[in-house]
């Protein structure tokens, strides 16, 4: 019985790899969340244009390993300063992050504040860190990550 429970638990923790045929992404369901004081919730969510998100993702990924990265990150981004420091310290200067594919996008939350529509958008992106190591040759570290953006659009 304990074995069954353990197995089920592990299966729950690994939803992405549990499918037999393909990688499946755990998609968040948009739901009302906390909004800042003074902000108004919207009747129905208007999804942020896919092109805007696509270009934004490419801009952010393109700025990785450059001094520009910090300006794309929100003030609440976890370990914001440390990320910049670590990239500078541990990543070779010629390393770049490339976008392999941009997958599902979803507007998770939306509200209006100061004449702007503020949306929280989730996008799943397949990326790859790549660089040439002098000893070990070409290196690549692929990964699939979910990026959450706060997008402000003037109404």
């Amino acid at each position: 019985m304990r074995l069954i429970a353990t197995t089920l638990l592990i299966l729950l923790l690994l939803p992405a790899v549990s499918s037999a045929k393909e990688f499946r992404i755990l998609k968040a369901i948009s739901a009302p969340g906390k909004v800042p004081a003074g902000a108004e919730t919207v009747q129905s969510i208007i999804p942020v244009d896919r092109q805007i998100i696509d270009k934004t993702v490419r801009a952010v990924v393109g700025s990785w390993n450059s001094s520009d990265l910090q300006k794309h990150l929100g003030d609440d981004f976890y370990d914001k300063e440390r990320l910049g420091d670590n990239i500078q310290q541990f990543i070779p200067r010629d390393a770049k992050l490339s976008v392999l594919s941009i997958q599902g996008q979803q507007t998770l939350q939306q509200y209006e504040e100061d004449g702007k529509r503020v949306s929280r958008v989730s996008v799943v992106v397949q990326t790859q860190v790549e660089f040439n190591d002098p000893q070990n040759g070409y290196q690549r570290f692929p990964g699939t990550t979910e990026l959450v953006f706060k997008v402000k659009q003037r109404l």
Binding site: D49, K55, L83, N136, Y138
Partner: protein, 677 residues
């Protein structure tokens, strides 16, 4: 009658004196009268300087005595020379005016410069605007003497007509040397053709960039000219020295020794002059370096700033400064090394009551730049004063028309009142006072910056304690690129968080730390991307939870400096390999399942090197089907080679080759089975 006769006699006896009196009475001074006076003065100075050494007088005493004796004559000579130069200039100008053609002919082919039509150019683009300017065709045969000085194919160079139809050279090349030589061999300064931007936030930066480049061109030109003049002056000095040495030798040979002092005096003057002039040249070089650094900083800032104005294709709509923005070690912040305070703006605050303070900070660089421009101009003026002083101290008469003092580039009228040592000394003092004043103002601005920054922080703390206290940049996050009908300025974004789904998260600071270890194969903390999907267990009795993936994350050898295609081969192997065999009851061989292979690009694949490890290694047979198809498969059977009861496990591995790209990848699938009975 007797008196009349006496006066007539006196006039006849002293004709020159009467002429001078007549001139003095009429107040008219002519070039001829000044030339005459100059000759007299020079003769008198020469007479004193050639005078014998007094008894008991040493060399220094002799030089001092003769210097004192000639001082008043030399001062007068300075004045005469200055007046002469002024008069000559006026006379030349008048002559030129009377003979100037309506449309000036500027080259041997008779080609004329025609003023550009209205609307064809914007005079404000030229650094000498206000004096009238406009583009003209390239006068290829403009210089006949030194064509190499004016590269005809310089794409960044244009020729313009200035007032009076004079051609002038303008450039947009930041590495231009800043000068050219006209057909008469005269040194001329190239002007900086202003760059313009359509990107509104960057206009101020472009203004400062143009201003700096304009100063740079002038300073480069002045350095070249001063170097040439120094060479010319040194040659003249050496000639003098040669003569003086010759005379002193003659003096020694005839026993008088009286000219030795003059030789020494010329020698001293030469050394003094050279030293003074080297100081002047060094000052120019220093100024050039400083201006170049500022221009490069501004170019970097413009490149950064113009990213805000990218169009749909990612192109900037503004300018290329010629000095790109990508500098090693660039912080990406808008720091300007020459600003006298630690500028990292523009600044903004989220705290409404404090916004005015942030705005006050943002206005400071412009004020500082204004003072810096004035300071720079004063410093250049001081350099010229030093050159004047050096020239004067070296014993020459100051002649402002001397090419050495071609001061048009600084301020044509500024130096005309400075011809004597005293005047120059006063001028130096005045400029030094100006420099001190501008420096003090800059310090005041720097202090004010610190003060306002402190006030802003205090204000935020007081009025907005719950908000993020940090003073941020004007545009937090980024500005959306125009898309889907959305204007860039109407949309901004910031990345809030990044969650790992699978593989490497390049935005996770902790994971970044592990990358070097992963490269060297010493990291065992987290498995990286598996290229196969671990099998899913179907029977609860078999522990088929995926273990560590076996695929190496990086192809390490051989060292290949060429990156593979952007999209790497990712192979997916799916299927369940499991069996439950009853000895004597189940068929032999018994099917244990199949494995399906596919790739991310859909190319035909071949499977090779399939092997089984673990306790199932001798118990399973594998057969590959559909090689060279996009989805080959492997059939797995229990081969009944052993009837021993028990639970057996193992891993099936193999290599998959993309027949189009020849890329290879490996897969692995866990297998399990039980034998009973």
């Amino acid at each position: 009658m007797r008196y009349i006769l006496l006066i007539a006699l006196l006039v006849l006896a002293f004709p020159m004196t009467s002429e001078v009196y007549a001139q003095a009475a009429s107040g008219k001074v002519t070039v001829e009268s000044l030339t005459s006076e100059k000759t007299t003065l020079e003769a008198e100075i020469r007479r004193i300087m050639d005078g014998p050494q007094l008894e008991g007088e040493d060399l220094n005493a002799e030089i001092k005595r003769k210097g004192d004796a000639t001082r008043s004559y030399r001062q007068r000579l300075d004045t005469v020379n200055t007046r002469l130069a002024e008069l000559k200039k006026k006379r030349d100008a008048a002559k030129k005016k009377s003979s100037a053609p309506d449309k000036p002919v500027i080259n041997s082919t008779g080609k004329t410069f025609v003023a550009p039509k209205k609307g064809e150019y914007d005079p404000k683009d030229y650094s000498f605007h206000g004096r009238g300017a406009g583009p003209v065709d390239h006068p290829k045969d403009l210089t006949t003497g030194d064509k190499a000085d004016v590269p005809a194919d310089d794409k960044d160079t244009q020729w313009v007509s200035t007032p009076g139809g004079k051609p002038s050279r303008v450039t947009q090349n930041p590495n231009d040397r800043g000068w050219w030589v006209d057909s008469k061999g005269r040194h001329k300064t190239s002007y900086w053709l202003r760059k313009r931007t359509d990107c509104a936030p960057c206009k101020e930066l472009v203004f400062y960039f143009n201003d700096t480049m304009s100063n740079l061109m002038i300073t480069r030109s002045m350095l070249a000219e001063k170097k040439r003049n120094k060479k010319r002056a040194m040659e003249a000095f050496r000639e003098d020295l040669k003569d003086a040495t010759k005379w002193s030798k003659e003096g020694q040979s005839n026993g008088s020794g009286m000219l030795t002092g003059q030789a020494l005096q010329v020698g001293f003057a030469l050394a003094e002059y050279e030293e003074a002039y080297d100081g002047v040249l060094d000052a120019y070089r220093k100024e050039i370096k400083s201006l170049e650094k500022t221009a490069k900083d501004l170019a970097a800032q413009i490149a950064e700033c113009e990213k805000q104005c990218k169009d749909d294709d990612g192109r900037t709509t503004g300018i290329t400064t010629g000095w790109g923005g990508g500098f090693a070690g660039s912080t990406g912040k808008t720091s300007v090394s020459r600003l006298p305070f630690d500028w990292n703006g523009p600044y903004s605050t989220k705290c409404n009551p404090c916004r005015k303070l942030a705005e006050a900070l943002n206005g400071l660089p412009e004020k500082a730049y204004d003072e810096m421009r004035k300071l720079s101009s004063a410093e250049r003026r001081l350099i010229t004063f030093r050159a004047l002083a050096a020239y004067h101290n070296a014993g020459s008469n100051v002649d402002l028309n001397n090419p050495l003092f071609d001061l048009d580039d600084i301020d044509p009228d500024y130096f005309k009142d400075y011809s004597t040592a005293k005047e120059i000394e006063e001028g130096v003092k005045k400029v030094e006072a100006d420099i001190a004043k501008y420096k003090a103002r800059l310090k005041k601005i720097a202090d004010y910056f610190k003060q306002v920054m402190g006030m802003l922080r205090g204000c935020e703390k007081k009025y907005c304690p719950d908000q993020d206290q940090r003073v941020g940049y004007l545009i937090p996050g980024g500005t959306c690129l125009p898309a889907g009908g959305m204007e860039a300025q109407n949309c901004s974004y910031e990345l809030e968080q990044v969650v790992t789904v699978i593989g490497t998260n390049a935005f996770d600071a902790q994971e970044i730390e592990r990358i070097p270890a992963m490269v060297n194969g010493t990291d065992s903390t987290t498995p990286t991307t598996p290229t196969t999907t671990p099998s899913t267990p179907t029977t609860p009795t078999t522990p088929t939870v995926p273990t560590t993936p076996t695929t190496p994350t990086t192809p390490t050898t051989p060292v290949d400096p060429t990156p593979p295609p952007a999209t790497p081969l990712i192979v997916t192997a799916t299927g369940v390999v499991s069996f439950a065999h009853t000895v004597g009851g189940s068929s032999c061989p018994q099917s244990a399942g199949s494995i399906s292979i596919s790739s991310n690009n859909g190319n035909p694949l071949t499977v090779s090197g399939v092997s089984v490890s673990g306790t199932l290694s001798t118990r399973l047979n594998t057969t590959t089907n559909g090689n060279s198809s996009a989805t080959p498969s492997i059939t797995v059977q229990f081969n009944c080679s052993s009837a021993a009861n028990g639970t057996f496990t193992g891993t099936i591995t193999g290599t998959v080759t993309d027949t189009v790209t020849n890329e290879t990848s490996t897969f692995s699938i866990n297998a399990s089975g039980t034998v009973t009975g």
